[in-house]
Symmetry: C2
Subunit: 351 residues, 2 copies
């Protein structure tokens, strides 16, 4: 109840016999204020329990020390780790993080963009909605000089920062791994092909097959909307009832891969002997399913950190926002039991 009168720099100024401007500059380490008074004022501010009003500061300086995040859904392992990385990095630099989820809907994304545009964010970190195919709603940020960092699911062409993994290489490696294990007929669970990550993973898959002189059978490639467990199960069912079923599956995410494992087990197909499976992302469930799912590891938290750092760098160094800067992070094949037919490949993760 006791609502203390707000203590502003004016109050502090009066108390110390300085002007508000001096107080403000001192608290912000402005070089034009002597070290001595700066130290004195800071001490007095702390002593008096002064709390800056960041809203007022934002209004005047039109900088908000807030980073906006736009993602599909928070409660997905990769996304939440990504956000976690952003938040950690942002907070250490004195920035706040404000989030908005699109539920993979284009309309929501457009709307969220409007809201964020009006809240004076100093940078935007985006992982695109599944549906999104045009990027006009991001132009307004460019116009306002707000840096955009696209992460993982990035637009085809839009001058901005990108933080991604090499999906092509990862797709290639995953497929290559199955080939190394002796698979001759490898199916692929792909996602929406207008989304870079899924298109690139598929490219890698196809090229790996070609490099190994294996035929590319289009009927083994499933183009899913969401790569859900339902889709994965259904596709596995279809694949296993083929007269010439595949001996390997590379799924573009773990959810579908796990459902494949579970379904295959249910119908008595031996994994990995009859069917080797590798997923993508290393979601927690990948290590829990039995046999444990081989997968591609994503440095999710690190991607978030880097994305946040791009924003921070941009605002401090005053970069040119018309340039594009792409950061590509490493992925690794994490071999577990779901794909380990031979013993000579890579070491199995200890469980």
């Amino acid at each position: 109840m006791a609502d203390k009168k707000k203590f502003t720099i004016y109050d502090l100024a009066k108390k110390l016999g300085y002007s508000p401007s001096t107080i403000s500059r001192a608290l912000n380490d402005h070089p034009t204020i002597s070290k001595k008074t700066t130290k004195f004022i800071k001490a007095a501010a702390k002593e008096a329990g002064y709390r800056p009003n960041s809203i007022a500061a934002s209004l005047r300086s039109s900088r908000s020390n807030t980073i906006g995040i736009m993602i599909s859904r928070i409660n997905r392992p990769f996304i939440s780790s990504l956000i976690s990385g952003v938040e950690e990095c942002a907070r250490q630099a004195g920035y706040s993080v404000i989030i908005s989820q699109s539920n993979d809907k284009y309309d929501n994304e457009v709307n969220n963009a409007k809201v964020l545009r009006d809240s004076q964010i100093s940078g935007l970190i985006v992982s695109l909605a599944m549906e999104t195919e045009d990027y006009d709603h991001f132009q307004q940020f460019v116009d306002m000089g707000i840096p955009i960092v696209f992460v993982d699911r990035v637009p085809k062409s839009f001058p901005s920062y990108h933080v991604v993994i090499d999906n092509y290489a990862a797709g290639f490696k995953a497929t290559q791994h199955l080939i190394d294990q002796g698979c001759k007929r490898i199916a692929h669970f792909a996602g929406a092909q207008h989304r870079n990550v899924y298109a690139e993973r598929k490219e890698g898959y196809i090229d790996a097959l070609k490099a190994a002189k294996l035929p590319v059978d289009e009927s083994l490639i499933y183009l899913f909307d969401t790569l859900s467990s339902e889709e994965g199960e259904k596709a596995t069912q279809e694949l296993l009832s083929l007269e010439n079923p595949p001996d390997g599956i590379f799924s573009a995410n773990d959810t579908a891969a796990v459902s494949a494992i579970i379904y295959a087990k249910k119908v008595g197909v031996n994994i990995p002997k009859d069917l080797a499976i590798i997923g993508f992302n290393d979601d927690p469930m990948a290590s829990i399913v039995d046999p444990a799912l081989s997968t591609i590891t994503h440095p999710a938290i690190k991607m978030g950190e880097i994305a946040a750092r791009r924003v921070l760098e941009h605002t401090t160094d005053n970069h040119d926002s018309s340039i594009s800067e792409v950061t590509i992070l490493n992925t690794e094949v994490l071999v577990r039991k779901s794909s380990l037919k031979s013993k000579v490949d890579k070491p199995v993760e200890q469980l």
Copy 2:
């Protein structure tokens, strides 16, 4: 690059021949402005592409339309779902959500509280850090009239809104279920006992045993710090090497329960025949592990929604912040294979 001059209500006022005050009121549906001019001004505003500066509004009115969230870590299934619920509800009401994670450290929590206090949030939603045992750092919000909604991990006594599940009842039900399955010697993996949720679940466990006239064996109760999979595995190892091992485990979270399943399987203990296991939370991994983990379901997203609604209600209805209002949500026993010894209990979830 083209940084359009900002278009303010002053510009609009000049253009329309009204005063800024009228524009402001019209845009906010103030009753003192006639319906007609309100409609006219709104149309003109949209037409002119006027965008309100929410920072300026916040400064003057000291309301920010922002809800702050303090949680342990974002990338945990329960937490991310909780946030998802908050965000969804908040956005629909025109509020933004700003998050901060404590990593379960008390010091971080205190710090985050300071930051949020200075950012003029209109409400705070908190799930306490594991370490936290005093709540002084929340008093400042009460002093400022900012409503606090504690969710799930709530303080022992602090006048505020609480949104929780009945942990006692859930613990009782979980244990009762194991008893119903014929378990006579049930171990319990508990969390830090100063955290309400774990203490209450343990109480429920103990009382269920007592109600069934089963002995309470303290040596079967593990008090963990974090309920990690490492802790779960180690405890399971110890329990299984007892000369009189338990025939059931009720774990206060799924992580430890799953590790128990995996370890037991590894050493050839049959689940559920020799050892029935039930967890808590219904994390995604619970349905993936084999045998699938019975567990207690948490309405995480709904808890987030309700928490957000409490904040919204409070700010609109201008509640008295000294009262305490507790919302208790339902939990359910979700029976899967890890605990299903008999067939006559409850229906097994289809996989």
